[in-house]
Amino acid sequence: MDDVFKALADASRRALLDRLHARNGQTLTELCDGLAMTRQAVTKHLAILEAANLVATIRHGREKLHYLNPVPIHEIGERWIRKFERGKLAALSELKRQLERRDE
C-alpha cells in the first residue's frame, strides 16, 4: 500500500493515470505524445506506477499496452470506507460533480 501512495504522490504520474483513464490501452509512444516529459522520464514514471500495480501492461502483437488498473485504489477504499457509507459518498461525489459542471 506504501507503493500506491508513493506512486500517487507525484503530479506527473497522476497525469499519466489521467491519460489512461481518458483512453485505456496506450503504447509508450502514444502516452508520450503531447506531454512535456522526455520518453525516459515517462518510462521511469510508468515503471513506478506498474510496481505499485496502478498500471497493468500486456503484450498485444508487437506492442506493449498500458492500462489503468483501479484494483489497488479500490482496496484502499475498502480499507477505510465502510460499506454503509458508500451510498452516501457516491451521492456526495455525484452532487459535487453536478455542481462543478454547472459552474463551467
Partner: protein, 154 residues
C-alpha cells in the same frame, strides 16, 4: 484483433489451484461475486451462466478451460432488455505464480457491440477482484452491495 478495453491485475497470496477453484466453484463465487453461482459444466463450448437465486444475470459460452492457468468465456448481461440486446463480450482470466503470490490478470474485450456493458463492467470488476483477494487471503469476502457500484439499470 482488437485490443482489450480493460486489463485488471491483482496479486493474491494463495496458490494457482486455490484461485482456480475460486474462479470456477459456486461455493466461492457466492461469497465474492454478489451472491452469484455458476451454471456450467466448464467444458469448452458449453453454455455458461452466472445466476443469483436461480435467475441468470449473465450468460455466455466457455471458450478456454486450462486449469490452473487460463479461463475464458463470453459474457453478456441479460437481466434487462437494454443489455440483452447487446452482443456478447469476452472475459479472460490468466493466473501466474510469482513465489508466494499469484498474479491474476483479467482482460475484458470485444465491447464493440456492448457500450452499456462497458460502463457496468468498469465498475464491477475492481469490486469483485478485491473481494476475491480478501476472501482468499483472510477467509472473508467483502460484502459490497450492488447498489454501491452506481451502475445504471442493473
Amino acid at each position: 484483433m482488437s485490443k482489450p478495453e480493460f486489463v485488471y491485475v491483482t496479486y493474491i497470496e494463495t496458490t494457482p489451484e486455490k484461485l482456480w477453484q475460486a474462479l470456477t466453484d459456486s461455493a466461492f463465487a457466492r461469497q465474492y461475486w454478489f451472491g452469484g453461482e455458476f451454471q456450467t459444466d466448464w467444458k469448452v463450448g458449453s453454455p455458461f451462466a452466472l445466476a443469483k437465486d436461480g435467475t441468470p444475470s449473465d450468460i455466455g459460452t466457455v471458450l478456454e478451460f486450462d486449469p490452473p492457468r487460463r479461463l475464458s468465456y463470453t459474457f453478456q448481461h441479460v437481466l434487462t432488455t437494454d443489455f440483452r440486446n447487446e452482443r456478447p463480450s469476452k472475459v479472460v482470466f490468466m493466473l501466474e505464480q510469482h513465489g508466494r503470490l499469484v498474479k491474476l490478470i483479467l482482460t475484458h474485450e470485444d465491447f464493440a457491440g456492448a457500450p452499456r456493458l462497458l460502463d457496468a463492467v468498469s465498475k464491477g470488476w475492481p469490486a469483485i477482484m478485491s473481494s476475491l483477494k480478501s476472501l482468499l487471503e483472510t477467509g472473508a469476502a467483502l460484502a459490497i452491495p450492488t447498489s454501491a457500484l452506481g451502475i445504471e439499470g442493473v
